[in-house]
Symmetry: C2
Subunit: 264 residues, 2 copies
């Protein structure tokens, strides 16, 4: 009777330690918290030691330690215990940093930013935007770059550097502006000729500069643009035929005729 007064029921214990009754029973079940004595009716009765132990368990578990690890720690020597806590604390700090970085990503998501393109690519798209390229075209580019980055993530920065060099040529700027506005052209728009001129100009320069287009990946990129453009508009068919009339074989790829092929 005296004993009983100084003892706690499971719900009192749980409430004190800030856990659920179910959790306490779970801890008993897996042997993490020793089964206490029972009273005459089979109720578990707990003493202060159980409270202390349960609070220890809860603290460690709440900090993210798996219950098996908690078990180990509680059984360990004091040094191993503090070592273990230090480790958990380290993980905790890492987790906090992770969550903080995540908040930034969330903010970008909310702002509608395109996620997960490397900074170099984002910078390049910014530059396109700054020369007045239509947002829809940027979207096409963005998607294309995602695929490229997915396939060759490590070469991306050098590729982007090349693209920046390309944009130093006013003709290239003009080309992108035309491509962008071409999204709204009708099939027989006369500006297509100017577009073809720009392309030819750039292709000639590329051949002169000895750019064989053999990066492998740049080819992929061009294939890609080609594909999406093909799907996008019949204008492309016209463009292709214009260039073919002038003796250009591949569309964007710089090779002229079977006679003066640039690469095998």
């Amino acid at each position: 009777m005296r004993q009983a007064e100084a003892m706690l029921t499971i719900s009192q214990l749980a409430a004190y330690a800030g856990v659920t009754v179910r959790a306490v029973r779970h801890y008993h079940h897996i042997g993490l918290l020793a089964e206490p004595g029972r009273n005459q009716s089979g109720y578990r009765i707990y003493d202060a030691e159980a409270v202390v132990q349960l609070i220890r368990i809860n603290t460690l578990a709440a900090a993210g330690a798996p219950l098996t690890r908690v078990q180990e720690l509680l059984d360990a020597s004091p040094e191993a215990f503090t070592d273990g806590i230090e480790k958990i604390d380290k993980d905790l700090r890492a987790e906090i940093r992770r969550l903080q970085r995540l908040r930034q990503r969330l903010a970008q998501l909310a702002a509608g930013d395109h996620p997960a393109l490397p900074p170099s690519v984002v910078g390049y798209l910014e530059r396109l935007r700054s020369i007045g390229i239509d947002e829809r075209y940027i979207e096409l580019e963005s998607n294309a770059w995602i695929m490229i980055v997915a396939q060759v993530p490590d070469q991306i920065d050098s590729v982007i550097a090349d693209k920046h060099v390309e944009l130093d040529d006013p003709v290239a700027v003009r080309l992108y502006q035309l491509l962008s506005s071409a999204l709204d052209w009708s099939v027989d728009d006369p500006r297509l000729v100017e577009l073809a001129d720009c392309m030819e100009h750039l292709m000639v320069r590329a051949v002169e500069a000895g750019e064989t287009g053999d990066l492998g990946l740049d080819n992929q990129f061009l294939d890609l643009l080609e594909t999406s453009a093909d799907n996008a508009s019949p204008l492309v068919t016209r463009l292709r035929s214009i260039l073919q009339e002038r003796g250009w074989n591949g569309w964007i790829r710089a090779e002229r005729t079977p006679t003066n092929t640039v690469h095998a």
Copy 2:
């Protein structure tokens, strides 16, 4: 063929988005990410849109949103979407604060502090320590207080205030010092008489002051001390008989004989 070059396999997709292949398939399974097309051999092939979507999913899920909630958000209007993100961010901030508080608790655990006693009790134990009480006795007190707090958490501060008043009496201080050192006494230690004197003194004062000991909880506390003391040492038996010879009935409780009972 052109198509295929601009497409990703499931492992490429997963790697790009920073998730496992299994997770992607899981998302397909629960309808969170649309099943893409297949190539001739039945492989799933993904486009840029899938990458973007998967990164959105991963960001939200990593932030702790349940996948069903992620689903809802992705299907929701832009306003609902940003609202939802705001909510998630709020939860994230709360989680970060929780983890930071947890780091403090962990530090206390590592330091060997007694966890989860309210500040008032900790202060009281400090005071006992400061008057030279043995650490083992403090441990007994600590356990006792845990049980008390567990049973009546809201009255604890006023109880502790009373205890502080009690300790303003030098006799009480002396009593605790004797109790503390009694842990090492042999059964027939002569200082037990002084201990009994102190107790009697305090009990007389209590009766004079009209303290009926009717807090209900204070009684519990005393029962408790009594119990643990009983278990602790045969000295208690002697002490009890000494006090009974002097006409004191209950041990620590302030009631003298059947004739002048203080409470019903």
